[in-house]
């Protein structure tokens, strides 16, 4: 593991998207993030945008991780992040989405760009965990998070 990641101790909220019932992805992401020392709240599958925003306000995560594999991720992800960013208190929380977001088995660059415009900080639409690790490392290097990480450890 990237040594820098061992210093990231974040409160992470993991969630499925509104129409997606798959859960092994969520179980796995939770273990993956916990193994790095993060604390994870896992909302489970089929989380509508309203519920997602509500739980984010309640738990105040330092990172929001959405996962979708059922092929509706480009649409569901868009509605989810739009709703989350409507909350002024959630406007600056880093948020990412990943998995298999379309039904065609290939990445859709235009749809991914739309997700970023709507407020995601990163889109891993090939489910690439190494790229996600690099993102986490970069996040750990950002001043606000890094000082938090040190304070915790």
């Amino acid at each position: 593991m990237n040594p820098i990641l061992e210093n990231v101790r974040l409160n992470v909220l993991v969630s499925g998207t509104a129409s997606d019932s798959h859960t092994w992805n969520l179980v796995y992401l939770q273990l993956f993030l916990e193994a790095m020392g993060n604390r994870v709240v896992n909302l489970g599958p089929c989380v509508p945008p309203q519920l997602l925003a509500g739980r984010c306000l309640e738990h105040r995560p330092e990172l929001i991780v959405l996962s979708s594999v059922n092929g509706h991720g480009y649409q569901d992800g868009l509605r989810a992040i739009t709703r989350v960013r409507q909350e002024p208190e959630l406007a600056g929380v880093p948020a990412v989405i990943g998995g298999m977001l379309g039904v065609a088995g290939e990445r859709d660059a235009a749809s991914a760009a739309r997700l970023c415009e709507a407020g995601f900080d990163a889109v891993f639409d090939d489910g690439n965990l190494e790229a996600f690790e690099r993102f986490l490392a970069r996040l750990a290097g950002t001043p606000a998070i890094a000082s938090h990480g040190r304070a915790e450890s």
Binding site: A18, S19, D20, S21, T23, Y28, G71, Q75, A104, G105
Partner: protein, 419 residues
Amino acid sequence: MTVSFGQFVASAGRLVVQPRMGFSDPRQMRSGLEHTKFAAATTVGTLTLDSYTRVGDHDSARRAVADGVALNGYPIVTYPVELTRELLAGVADETFPVQVRHGSSRPQRIIRALTAAGLDATEGGPVSYCLPYGRTPLRDSVASWAESCELLARLVEPGRVPHLESFGGCMLGQLCPPSLLVAISVLEGLFFTQHGIDSISLSYAQQTDPTQDEEAIRALRRLGAEFLPVRADWHVVVYTYMGVYPLSAAGARRLLETSAELAVRSGAQRLIVKTVAEAHRIPTIEENVRALETAATVAVMTTVDSARSGPDTGIYAEARTFVEAVLELHPDAGAALLAAFSRGYLDIPYCLHPDNAGLSRSYIDDAGWLRWSAAGRMPIRPAAAPRDSAGMSPARLLSALNHVARKFDHSSQEARCIP
């Protein structure tokens, strides 16, 4: 006289094969049914519904259809009933029954839509379409499913026999030991018969080992005969592996072939196939047809040795223990299932649903059999697991999830080296 879904399968005289096929474009869906019907195999057709329809978000389904965005299935509630009738006209008939597959814990609108379109066969169940599929409380799912069975019984066209298949043989697709899959299938079948449906099928999804699976399907057949009312017409349907699928086309094909062998050897009457696209995306019509024909060819070539019965490692006894423990809780199968989950008598490993106790765990042993590593409060005493098998690191979970895919991707590579 119309031939019902159950009668069609019973009188087919060979393994009936079926796709998991669903498209949001009605022309593509129609073409998919036609190609299924005329595949070189004894087939039944499928309308697999999209995820928005499954969760009852018909607005999103409508918006996607209006915007021309492809969905992961056919939105039967969104489309006008005439359109679905047209789609089926001249395809669905005596020689080609069509089943609706969805994944909804509250399927009332789906049942209304499919019966309005002249269909009579679908699948699911109060547990199997709830715990693996979302956040609906189990209590609500049980009530919705009781109502839905009764709706289906009442709304099918006169002279037709409603058919329901339990999805209980596939809890989360992977890592649920066979005895629990068998028990849930039987209990859901019983639930259907208590709510007016007498033509049913019980399912079992292929797991990690063919010998273990064969024993499980025999146990399912035996328990079905013991616990379902004699008036019920029922058969067993096998699902080709429902967990993480091999990435390579050769590995994917080989796994499909082993499931067809399993279905024939264990005396099942129907098989729902997977395609070479499974690990990657929604399969095309052609990929589905190829999978159906591959499975049918293997089925014809597979011989049944009725003298060979295989080992008894206790799957029947364990499944029977579950069924009896649940039915002792209440004469009504729905109430009994609710009580059983709240007490943890039934407990699906790795299931995130709040109404699942979450104390059970499973692992794949060195011989490749799927086993319990923790039984929680379930009424069974599985053999002791190796000490370290209950702890789960991310690497270990991924390795268990990928066990079957890895085996078949590898063996297909080896096969390529043989001259």
